[in-house]
Amino acid sequence: MAEIIETSSSRARENRASAINESRATRWVLMALAFGFLAIFLLSPLVLVFAEAFKRGIEPYTEALVDRDTVAAIRLTLLVAAISVPLNLVFGVAAAWAIAKFEFKGKAFLITLIDLPFSVSPVISGLVYVLLFGASSVLGPWLKSYGIEILFAVPGIVLATVFVTFPFVARELIPLMQEQGTGDEEAALSLGANGWQAFWYVTLPNIKWGLLYGVLLCNARAMGEFGAVSVVSGHIRGLTNTMPLHVEILYNEYNAVGAFAVASLLAGLALVTLVLKTILEIRFGHAIAGSRGH
């Protein structure tokens, strides 16, 4: 208080609009803390990844990337994402639709279930599938007798990834759809549209940016998931190794350039995701956050 009273009239005018402003020193300390923290814990590892990957120059880097097992890992990661992201897109839209537009018993329970993968350790999620489909389970041997391998094969990896990533789309859409309510759909129906037309022409355009946002996050997680996939994959080189698992294997073999080369791809994916996410937030922030356009 005393400080404000002592300031000259010009200073007082300058500060007039910002009653909550802290002193310059406080601001600097806070900003330095925030940036310093980010630099140490986020930026330096990122720089390190690229530095290590290119330590011996471009050639060993590209060589590491065209390695047969690495290409297989990249391909598997893309395949897993290509299956699990669309699955979660459909599931997420369906779940959000049900929760936002209908009243039914067990709704709160359903919301809790959707959040489950966020609260459960990914390793546990993986273990669940081992218990479900493992050699000592009921389901595993039965499926095996039909020649269907779940565990230590692509289906298991897809299942684990789907499980870990399913909250993203649903979580993004539920508040958005709840806020939009059912008015637009009712209007479409009253104008003669059938349910599918109402969804396609009205609901989907209303949620498209939020949906894209959810898909983006879902994809990033699907490609980067380590824990759950690690448990169910079996780490068979060239067959059931996704990129994150492959990074670990290469690193454990003291192949630093190889490990960091693959890691740099994942880091690149993260950066692209971040940029797209930021663009979405800036351009369509209101549509994602769920506030009505008018």
Partner: protein
């Protein structure tokens, strides 16, 4: 299209929103559902539209029982309270939506849809705004787009939920007059919901006064204003004052004196007298009148409203005085209602 609501009951989670409501709407009529919030007026409108299904009873469109028809099959034009315009579509696309989603055989060509849309936008005086998006329109313009969109499907019945609720007073009055003109020009059977009595009385051919899930009275503006059939309607439509009275031998008494109003057929007992504050006769001498002390006075436009305290029980009533009347604080005023009604106390 005639619409008949026959003994409809509607419950939400066992909680009754409408009790046994019946209503006949004539073809081409403009009807207002008027009531306070929670009176069931919007529920009734949504039932007619097919957005809700009745728990009991039936809704007829003409001779046909439409109760189990879907909203799409009923072919009603519904204007939502907040318009529910599709915000990612242009005004023209909004208006043309109902035609675009028709099944292949009956769907007009794209050019024809465009033509119909701009024709309707002409009707609602919005030509030239085809390419705009809803966010670029004012509230009144959105309302007109919503109406044009509802009329595009050539509805049998036009239903409007609080059509002017979200607009400011000036725009409200304009749109009200304009809606009446559109109605007279197109002849649609129209039902609208409102909590604004002025709107209902001015605009509608007949007003349906609702309260607590029941229809209290159906009638023209004159009927519901001049001859309200229940204390609720008296209190809800227009301004009213009421005073507890006693019926004795066909005369009304306030406390221990007769007030000069007779009710020949009423049984003895307690009752409530209703009258309009402006519809009173001021008396110089009091042989049979209501007399009270002025306790409050306020200026309302061209008249003066005073609050009187009547009798030993200090009942307060409000009446209207001419501006030049010398009623100051604490002075006594005697009056007798010109038009009034007595409702016997229940039980």
């Amino acid at each position: 299209m005639e619409v008949r609501v026959a003994n409809v009951r509607k419950e939400f989670d066992r909680f009754p929103a409408l009790h046994d409501v019946s209503l006949d709407i004539k073809s081409g009529e403009l009807i207002a559902l008027l009531g306070p919030s929670g009176s069931g007026k919007t529920t009734l409108l949504r039932l007619i539209a097919g957005l809700e299904k009745p728990t009991k009873g039936a809704i007829y469109f003409g001779e046909e029982d439409a109760s189990h028809r879907t909203i799409q099959e009923r072919n009603v034009g519904f204007v939502f309270q907040h318009y529910a315009l599709f915000r990612h579509m242009t005004v023209a696309d909004n208006v043309g939506f109902g035609l675009k989603v028709r099944p292949g055989a009956t769907r007009p060509a794209a050019a024809e849809i465009r033509r119909r849309a701009s024709e309707l936008l002409d009707l609602v005086q919005l030509s030239g705004l085809e390419k705009r998006y809803p966010a670029q329109l004012s509230g009144g313009q959105r309302q007109r787009v919503a109406l044009a969109r509802a009329m595009a499907i050539e509805p049998k019945v036009l239903l409007l939920d609080e059509p002017f609720g979200a607009l400011d007073a000036q725009v409200r009055r304009e749109l009200r007059r304009w809606l009446r003109e559109i109605h007279d020009a197109t002849g649609h059977t129209t039902v609208f919901v409102t909590h604004d009595q002025e709107e209902a009385l001015e605009l509608a051919d007949r007003v349906v006064v609702m309260s607590q899930g029941r229809i209290e009275q159906v009638g023209t503006a004159d009927e519901v204003y001049d001859t309200p059939n229940s204390p609720f309607v008296y209190g809800f439509i227009g301004e009213s004052s009421s005073l507890p009275v006693k019926v004795e031998d066909g005369q009304l008494w306030v406390a221990d004196r007769p007030i000069g109003l007779s009710v020949p057929d009423a049984p003895n007992g307690k009752a409530e007298l209703y009258f309009r504050p402006h519809d009173v006769e001021l008396l110089e001498e009091c042989n049979g009148c209501i007399a009270g002390t002025v306790v409050a006075s306020r200026r309302v436009a061209g008249t003066r409203r005073v609050e009187l305290e009547i009798g030993g029980e200090r009942q307060r009533v409000e009446i209207e005085l001419p501006i030049e009347h010398p009623a100051a604080q604490k002075s006594r005023v005697a009056f007798r209602p010109r038009r009034w009604k007595v409702f016997l106390a229940e039980g």
